[in-house]
Symmetry: C2
Subunit: 184 residues, 2 copies
C-alpha cells in the first residue's frame, strides 16, 4: 500500500525551484507578502514529509528554525547524522523503502518537499501521484530544475488557486500512460 506522494513546490515561472547553490531567498518576498502561504497550502492535508539532504540543509539555514514542527519528516541522505529537529529522521534508503515505512506508520499522504533530484527519482520510478506547483511571479534565469530526471509525462489539471501575491498554484494529477500516446 504505497501512500499518495505529492510533490508540492514553489517554482519560478521558468521552472526553477532554487538557485544553482540551493538558496531560496527569492521566495522571501512571496512568503512575507501574505498570511495565506501558497507555498504551504497543501500542508494541512498531509501526514508526513519526505525530502532530500540539500533541501533539509536549505530549510535549516532559514531564519526562525525548523519550519515543519509536528510533522514526521524523513530525510534521504548517504550521510545521516543525529542532531535533528524533533520528528525528523535521516535514512540511507531508496524512496520506495522510505514510502513503505511511512505507510507502515499509517501515513497516507506524503509531501515530497524536494529537491529536484529526489523528485526526479520519484517521478522516474512512477511514485509521484500529484504535483502542486506554486508558480511565483519571478524569472530566476538559472537554477535547480523542478525535475532532473529528463522524464516526460502528461498531467491533468486538477485544481488551481490564485494568491494576492501573484502566485498561481497549479495542482495536477500525474497520468500513468505513455506520453507518446497520451491524449491530453
Amino acid at each position: 500500500m504505497k501512500p499518495t506522494l505529492i510533490y508540492s513546490v514553489a517554482a519560478s515561472l521558468d521552472g526553477y525551484i532554487a538557485r544553482p547553490d540551493g538558496r531560496i531567498d527569492w521566495l522571501d518576498a512571496i512568503q512575507a507578502s501574505s498570511d495565506e502561504h501558497s507555498y504551504h497550502a497543501v500542508y494541512d492535508g498531509i501526514d508526513a514529509l519526505l525530502m532530500g539532504r540539500m533541501t533539509f540543509d536549505a530549510l535549516m539555514a532559514l531564519e526562525g528554525g525548523w519550519p515543519y514542527p509536528g510533522k514526521p519528516c524523513r530525510v534521504l541522505t548517504r550521510h545521516p547524522h543525529e542532531q535533528l529537529p524533533e520528528g525528523v529522521s535521516m535514512h540511507h534508503c531508496t524512496p520506495i523503502e522510505a514510502l513503505t515505512e511511512q505507510a507502515e506508520q499509517g501515513h497516507q499522504r506524503i509531501w515530497l518537499v524536494g529537491g529536484g533530484s529526489l523528485a526526479g527519482n520519484c517521478f522516474a520510478a512512477g511514485l509521484l501521484d500529484e504535483l502542486v506547483v506554486s508558480v511565483v511571479p519571478y524569472v530566476l534565469g538559472a537554477g535547480i530544475p523542478m525535475f532532473s530526471s529528463g522524464l516526460e509525462r502528461s498531467l491533468r489539471l486538477h485544481k488551481q488557486r490564485n494568491f494576492s501575491s501573484g502566485v498561481v498554484q497549479l495542482h495536477y494529477q500525474v497520468l500513468a500512460e505513455n506520453p507518446a500516446s497520451a491524449a491530453l
Copy 2:
C-alpha cells in the same frame, strides 16, 4: 518609440519551450484539443512578429504551411535566405534595430514568438514588456529553457485564462526594478 514587445509562448510545466532539438511535437495534443488556441490567444492584439531562426525553421516544418499568414514577421538570423512565406523577411541585425524598424512601419505591439535565446537577449536588454506563458499540462524533463540569459526579474501577474485543454495562460508585466530590492 520602442514598440511593446510581448513574449508569448507555450511552455511545459517545467519551463521548457521545445525539446533539446527544437521540436514542439508535444504541443500537438493541446493544439488539436480545442478551437480556442491558448497558444495563439495573444495573436489578435498584435501587429507584427519577431522570431529567431530556429523557431522559424521549426514552424516551417509543421504540417499545414506557414501558421501566421497576414502578419508581418521578422526573422533574425546570421544567414538570411530568400525563399520565404509572404510577409516574412530575414535580417541580420540586433533586436533593438529590428524593433526600431518595426516601429517605423507603425507596428505598436510585437509578438516575440521565440526562441529562448532571442527571448533571453531581449529580456537581458530590457526590451521585454509583457510575458504570456501558456503552461501546458506536461512535464518535458529536458529542453530549451524559456530564457537562456540567466537574468533575474520580478513580474506582476496581469491576467490569466484557463482552457479546457488544461492549459493555464499566465500574462505578466515585466517589472523594471532591480529584483534584489523588489517587493513582489
